[in-house]
């Protein structure tokens, strides 16, 4: 898109911002929310909004770190398995009689360690992240099964499980929104307003050029994987408490949804391009769409088809648009 004709670049910044994928996905999301609130019964209620926020919490938290990783041109397919393994580890620690106050930070730490293993294989040994994280996707999920088998640990203290399901004060805003919002703002600021964020884009756009400008690309990626693992650990804690159940198969297959929202949010799978607002909108769009379809009694099968189609469309649409623009441009030149 940056290879557009020079005349295009002089358009006002406002116009350009309004025609980006980000703006489009935010617009589509808003339109969808308004239309769904009007047409789908119970969709627009405060209680349903609370459910949507609860449902989107794990996806959003995982998507924050994934956005940064994909922007550097890498991928992390192991996040959902990391959630499963930290959840299973929580169950084992709880059965061993540890207190939840001790277990929660340990779970996040475990996630960070698992992320560091990914980072070590990818940046230390120079292995492709796709292959490494397919490997750890199987390995971490497998270890989760080794820890807990197919049993569940369900006797979590009411105080904590109640908090994850509860609302702020007496209102209708779920408690989990607060940490979510803080983390989203932190990630947004880091990506869009700090040198770290700029190096993330630089590393994704051209790793060699980034290295020559003095960015430690390997170290950056390593810490992004540690961050991604820690976020997955946090989601493990949240998931376990929200469903009051530590199981090895928690969050099974969730990595696909996370990748889907990141790409749908306008982050290029080739790295170097993307922004957090688009990803946040994509999370809201996908989860509220699923919610609305469920309320409208559309079968859950339709959801898988919708998710998959959206994923392909997210990449296909900009490609098709630029192909059409290219064709129009060529024709204009010919007629001129």
């Amino acid at each position: 898109m940056s290879t557009e004709a020079p005349a295009r670049r002089r358009d006002s910044a406002l116009l350009r911002a309004a025609t980006t994928w980000d703006a489009a996905i935010i617009g589509v999301t808003l339109v969808f929310l308004v239309v769904a609130a009007q047409t789908v019964e119970h969709f627009g209620t405060a209680r349903n909004a609370g459910y949507i926020i609860l449902d989107l919490a794990p996806i959003l938290l995982l998507a924050l770190a994934m956005t940064l990783i994909v922007t550097t041109g890498e991928i992390d397919l192991s996040v959902a398995s990391t959630v499963g393994l930290t959840s299973a580890a929580m169950g084992v620690m709880w059965n061993a009689g540890m207190t939840l106050e001790a277990i929660m930070p340990l779970a996040v730490l475990l996630g960070a360690v698992l992320g560091a293993v990914n980072g070590l294989f990818i940046t230390g040994f120079g292995l492709p992240s796709l292959a490494v994280t397919i490997g750890t996707l199987a390995l971490y999920r497998g270890l989760a099964y080794v820890l807990l088998g197919d049993t569940a640990v369900a006797d979590w203290p009411r105080l904590f499980t109640g908090w994850t399901l509860g609302n702020i004060g007496e209102g209708a805003v779920p408690n989990v929104l607060a940490p979510m919002a803080v983390l989203a703002i932190v990630f947004g600021l880091v990506l869009h307003a700090t040198p770290i964020g700029r190096s993330v884009y630089a590393a994704g756009a051209n790793p060699i050029a980034a290295a020559y400008t003095g960015i430690a690309v390997g170290r950056l990626k390593f810490w992004l994987y540690v961050t991604s693992g820690a976020m997955a650990g946090l989601v493990g804690v949240l998931w376990t408490l929200r469903y009051s159940s530590a199981r090895a198969d928690n969050a099974y297959g969730l990595e696909l949804t996370v990748i889907a929202v990141v790409l749908l949010g306008g982050v290029s799978i080739f790295g170097g391009k993307g922004a957090l607002p688009g990803v946040l909108a994509a999370v809201v769009l996908l989860v509220s769409l699923q919610n609305a379809l469920r309320l409208a009694h559309v079968s859950t099968e339709a959801l898988t088809v919708v998710t998959g189609s959206l994923l392909i469309a997210a990449v296909l649409a900009p490609n098709a648009a630029s192909a059409v623009r290219g064709a129009l441009h060529r024709r204009r030149r010919r007629t001129a």
Binding site: G135, A138, L139, G142, Y145, V146, I312
Partner: protein, 339 residues
């Protein structure tokens, strides 16, 4: 990568030999595993146990052949599990409900797979969507279609014609038909990749897509071939699945892509294209199956299976990296050009 390996062979140690020829390494690993397991329980090499392994390996080998062809071109096909499910369900339901003869029904299953593969190819080639994203999308969409077709229902073995089930469970001279089909496909794809111009083109496309295009290779047609082949083999896998198990519901083949990708990676096919053989991939599939069947004999909890697969994938790619580093060092020592 294989060209580099050949050039650097001078003064290689036995370790280099094993490292470089993945098939040999896999055979050593397989033999060791079988030997240990047989030592624990001699019946592991008995007829029934070996047949179980061959039955279980057949479909993974089949899918691994298709996956190899796609991975060689720097692609990946994550939709194989869903394609297998769709093909298995379509085949079984036309046999059970419309009374279509067995032969045409099997061809129909294969055609369903080919069509799915063509869809992947079109999205990847014409849509310029990265293979990972495209096939992740079709993984969802096709699974959704299977759920849509099947609903909560399932087709039972009693609804299927006797001949079809006999094919799925029968043996020729002790070898399951299923495994014979897999070996036949393995040989055909192996010969195609090794001996035919369009097969060699796939390696060229994977090693250096830009150079391949400049050399005038029809990239689009070759990519379509690769995805249609992978889809067709997944379709065939679906037919065999239905014939073998008889009971088919919407979850047939769910999550299978992971095993197939694991088999291919363990089999030494480089995930970024241009290097690897179907023989390696098939041995990888066989190794994973043998591990799976050996676990209960060795009294290891079945829950270890997935963790072992993951560890094997990591070990395999780390090994590949080691080999390429050694090869590059050997080249430098000889003072020849690296590029």
């Amino acid at each position: 990568m294989s060209a580099v390996g050949v050039k650097a062979r001078t003064g290689s140690t036995a370790l280099d030999l094993v490292l470089r020829f993945r098939a040999l390494g896999l055979l050593v690993a397989l033999t060791a595993l079988v030997a240990v397991t047989t030592a624990v329980n001699p019946r592991f090499l008995g007829g029934q146990s070996v047949r179980d392994v061959l039955f279980a390996a057949a479909i993974t080998v089949l899918l691994a052949c298709g996956m190899t062809v796609v991975v060689l071109t720097r692609g990946i096909d994550l939709s194989v599990g869903s394609v297998l499910g769709l093909s298995a369900y379509v085949t079984a339901s036309v046999l059970a409900e419309s009374g279509m003869p067995t032969g045409p029904a099997m061809v129909l299953g294969l055609a369903v797979g080919a069509a799915c593969g063509a869809l992947n190819g079109v999205i990847v080639h014409f849509g310029k969507v990265p293979p990972l994203v495209a096939t992740l999308g079709t993984l969802y969409v096709l699974r959704g279609v299977v759920y849509f077709l099947a609903g909560g229902s399932r087709i039972n073995a009693s609804d299927l014609p006797r001949a079809f089930l006999d094919f799925g469970n029968g043996r020729l001279l002790g070898v399951p038909y299923l495994f014979a089909v897999a070996v036949l496909v393995l040989v055909l794809v192996g010969v195609y990749l090794g001996r035919y111009r369009s097969g060699r083109d796939l390696y060229a496309l994977g090693s250096n897509p830009e150079a391949a295009r400049l050399a005038g290779l029809p990239a689009g047609r070759r990519l379509m071939t690769a995805y249609v082949l992978s889809g067709s083999l997944a379709g065939l896998g679906g037919v065999l699945y239905a014939a073998r198990f008889g009971t088919v519901d919407a979850s047939a083949g769910f999550g299978m892509e992971l095993n197939v990708v694991a088999a291919v990676v363990v089999g030494g096919v480089a995930i970024f294209g241009g290097s690897g053989t179907v023989l390696g991939a098939a041995l990888g599939a066989l190794l994973l199956t043998v591990i799976n069947n050996a676990l209960p004999v060795l009294r290891i909890d079945q829950f270890w299976q997935q963790a072992i697969i993951g560890a094997l994938i990591l070990a395999a790619i780390a090994l590949d990296r080691l080999v390429s580093i050694r090869a590059a060092r050997a080249l430098r020592q000889k003072g020849s050009h690296v590029d």
